[in-house]
Chain length 346, copies 2
Amino acid sequence: MSKHTDVNTLGEFGLIDHLTQHVELSNGETYLGIGDDAALIDRGDGYYSVISTDMMVEGIHFDLMYSPLKHLGYKAVVTNLSDIYAMNATPDQITVSIAISSKYSVEALEELYQGINTACKRYGVDLIGGDTTSSPKGMIISVTAIGKVEKGKEAVRSGAALDDIVCVTGDLGAAYLGLQLLEREKQLYLSQPETQPDLEQASYLVERQLKPEANKAAVDYFTKVGLVPTAMIDVSDGLASELFHIAKASGVGIIIEESKVPIHPDTQEMALKFNIDPITCALNGGEDYELLFTVNPRDLDKVRYMPDVFIIGDIVEHANGVKLFSTGGKLHPMKAQGWNHFESKE
Amino acid sequence: MSKHTDVNTLGEFGLIDHLTQHVELSNGETYLGIGDDAALIDRGDGYYSVISTDMMVEGIHFDLMYSPLKHLGYKAVVTNLSDIYAMNATPDQITVSIAISSKYSVEALEELYQGINTACKRYGVDLIGGDTTSSPKGMIISVTAIGKVEKGKEAVRSGAALDDIVCVTGDLGAAYLGLQLLEREKQLYLSQPETQPDLEQASYLVERQLKPEANKAAVDYFTKVGLVPTAMIDVSDGLASELFHIAKASGVGIIIEESKVPIHPDTQEMALKFNIDPITCALNGGEDYELLFTVNPRDLDKVRYMPDVFIIGDIVEHANGVKLFSTGGKLHPMKAQGWNHFESKE
């Protein structure tokens, strides 16, 4: 009998590492392959092409009971653009492939494409291709984003160095709580279909979940002031997971101050209602699509004058690991939980 | 009540046209968007980036009862590379995104990646990124291929002109019959599990279906002899469907001679066993991944000395439509049937 190792045993990142361990790069124009927010290809004109791709699966990444199709199309684009910005690059084009079961109407797809087109206009990218096919069950959306960055301006995960400052562009944990809320209302509705969902008090959290934005403004600011982050990544799987990616790729340790991690008042309040520590939402929640980046201390002034930025910690020696300096004054080792699609949804 | 138009009513290409009718291109570097085998982006160094993407869904595009995972990975790459070659371009990189249900083991994914890596090596492309996630059911593979072509050497669908010669790089219809055979053996096995499949006599047909190749050699030849096809497309949906794409995009008519359409002896024989006219397999079968192209008559000599090429017809006035000059000496209007995933598999 042939061996059967459960895919759940490796975790998402472990599985990708395992499957791509034998990948060799042989094309001279490939500058950076698997393992960052996006790949870099030498264009030959002083720029890199920046390529990122993501797949969203109904029942895993979204639930059409509470995701309007327009928002879903918008989000599918934005989450990919976020990966391009995370390289300090500008997105220019996207392709969108969709598989749908026959339960979807042409009108439903029109709504989805409205959201896609709205995102394209807002971020100045062109929809240049894709594929439309049927699926035996549900909807699958695969987006590839193409951008560019001037050589030398790219921000990869591996560039963080000792004493660099760790920053994030916005508050964390809100999208996670938005999801918890939507899930709770869904369960309520399923058990008591006559109840109306009450999400008015939670519009910020729900919008962060259903219609996130990519942080174009941050990358525009970097260009304006001539700042190149030493490392950058977007917060899609939770702050802790992203910190571990930077620490591993850069061969450094990181200490984050709990009191400095930005958490929106609505997130604070709702976390307490759900009986979760707000910092846990920020560390392990995910889908915030803010940019986490590090800068050389000599660039501190440029960061200080940046709108909507939070300095949350420091790069330290590798031996220190990745730790949280709690409000209680203690150093806690972090865990890279983040999302694990293979564990959470079977 | 909101309107519900069945996606089946428009057909695959009608649906894509409908959904993308409001797409506007605003980025100055986008040279060619939706509507060809691949999109073209100005790299700024005298080349276009060439981008193509495709999605393969279990139960629609492949059946793991008879598709070895290694071949499936190989085919997923090759079919995308074929789209890059169809622009007279060279593929350089791919990204691969995969969604899988928990029934798949790590070993199964390793096999899939073996096929992906083998195709990458054979065609000299780098695997530079992707996404791995879970699906509630089955496997979905989405591949994006990135290539390049020197400006002025690109072969788009819209360039065919009156009196151009229509050529194809290899025999057609075999992959379709391979699929019919595999389906027949599957049904036999399901009804009589003790029977062993007998596919030895049909290895050519089965291989064309399960492990197709992209026609790199043709594009290499074009480069070598300095020939730029006036139009080109790869035969993925059947000859008739591709002829209609060229006719529509170029605003021309096409007449194909039935007796010139290359059909392998094994295809001939098996078609008769299945009681299908062999020319029907060539016209409407699909998945041959040969290149269909047109050349200016002054380039006739360059085509004559090309290995493995077949001159099958001529570009005529638009008013003539797309027709087949049959072996019986009559002109028959063709129908663009091809594959229609939305119709055939519900």
